[in-house]
Symmetry: C2
């Protein structure tokens, strides 16, 4: 099997494992569960839970407790997508070719299903305490999950991005937004896998840096694809940043420097992963794959 | 001191203890922190954290770990108020005489500050693992906090309430909405205090029932005040339920039966509290006070 085939299989496996933790759609608040599950079934790459699982395996983890964190991380990511699409934020009616949740279920259910997914993520992750495994590791993993998702992580980055809408962003602010809005949840994926498997503090710190570099590379690659991609390849209109007068790495640094950054950041991340576990090659290959993707 | 003076002092003390956990307003995402703190400073009675603290004391608790849960519970409650007020939900421009958060900071920051408070609640509560005290109790308290706030608790109740808007509600649905939307967080307050102080499973179960009865009584009393109250006393227009064609305990059961229910539920709650700790009289008196309130 080539890497893309291995990846495809792993994505399917990750998807199967996450789905076990989706709420049932019957009962008193069944419609809210439906809206949550609709958003969770929009066909994403399950990148964050896959990275969490692979980081866990990289440090020798083999228990069940990583699974609840995989589901939780994808729920928090999905929560952010639902709320990003709302009329008061990006006002997108479609996501990956499907109606956005607020369009399919109405705006009130768009807001509430995002809230409920964020909260359900903690319900599911807290279920880890009922599974075998070291409670102190789970507590630390939960603290990282919350820190990377919130005011000083993803949500904070999103708020600064919204606050600057329509104004040209300086380089420092753009960097801050990318670090929090995109990199923070990827940092959580790399770190939580390592923590649950019993990695030491230095190793967890190194995984945080890997996540940061991967997150930045991933976001800058997005900026590049917005300029070079086609509607067909991206599944969304290209040149949307230019049309929206959005500051990106490409507008602030130019295409050449943006491409150089993606390569440098990905290289650093892959090198660091090899240094931590020379015999495991899936994550370094995934990092390389991410920067060659066309969508 | 009479009871109202004691209560006033305890509310001030609770407010002081909660404020220690509010985020700083400087730094990269400072504006989001400002919006969160604005919503958290709208002058509520701090009822849920006060109940948590008193339930903790009732079972002999005296450590610091209850405090982070007090702050977390008030943050989750405040998150729900911010999102309830949004245009797509209740569309209220004012809350307790102040501009609603989405009016003061814009709709996008209304959504994001609600999200961020919900997430920050877990950040703060998870900080309990860094404090002295039994980790298993903290894990259980976190599980209760998440369960009572989410799909099967407050948010689920809110979603059903929204879903029935403009249609007359049957008695069973109304009961379900009141149990989840209003009672669930009060159940969490009574239960978490008891759990952290080391109460047994039977005692925690009894405290859950107390919370349920108090929550129902509190909500039915709200229905009654909406009919009998004045703008002056309530701080909001009376008869808003009637104007909005909203089903309430008063419209479905009549005023007399509603008043009888409030009395019966409060009496059961006070009796149960006395049975659990005969020498502690603050919580039973608080329960009685709640049903004699005029706003």
């Amino acid at each position: 099997m080539n890497f893309e085939e291995i990846l495809e299989e792993k994505i399917e496996e990750t998807d199967r494992r996450i789905r076990k933790y989706l709420p049932r759609e019957d009962g008193f608040s069944g419609k809210l569960a439906q809206a949550m599950n609709y958003a969770m079934s929009s066909g994403g790459k399950r990148l964050r839970p896959l990275i969490l699982q692979e980081s866990y395996a990289m440090f020798g983890g083999s228990g069940q407790e990583a699974e609840v964190f995989m589901a939780a991380l994808e729920m928090i990511h999905t929560h952010s997508l639902i709320h990003d699409d709302l009329p008061a934020l990006d006002n997108d009616d479609y996501r990956r070719g499907k109606k956005a949740t607020h369009v399919a279920y109405g705006e009130a259910f768009g807001i509430l299903s995002g809230d409920a997914l964020l909260n359900y993520a903690y319900e599911v992750a807290l279920h880890s305490f009922d599974l075998p495994g070291d409670p102190a590791r789970k507590a630390l993993a939960l603290q990282i999950l919350a820190a990377k998702s919130g005011l000083y992580g993803m949500l904070g980055g999103q708020s600064v991005d919204v606050d600057w809408e329509g104004r040209p962003m300086d380089k420092e602010t753009l960097q801050g937004v990318y670090l929090q809005k995109t990199a923070a949840l990827l940092e959580a994926a790399f770190m939580i896998g390592a923590i649950l498997a019993g990695a030491g503090a230095d190793q967890v710190k190194a995984m945080e840096r890997v996540g940061q570099n991967v997150g930045l590379a991933f976001q800058i690659q997005d900026d590049i694809l917005d300029v070079t991609g086609s509607l067909e390849g991206l599944g969304k209109p290209a040149h949307s940043d230019e049309k929206n007068h959005k500051s990106t790495y490409v507008t602030l640094y130019g295409m050449e420097e943006a491409a150089r950054q993606v390569k440098a950041l990905s290289g650093q991340a892959a090198d660091a992963l090899f240094a931590l576990a020379p015999e495991k090659d899936f994550l370094p290959r995934l990092v390389q794959w991410l920067i060659t993707r066309k969508k």
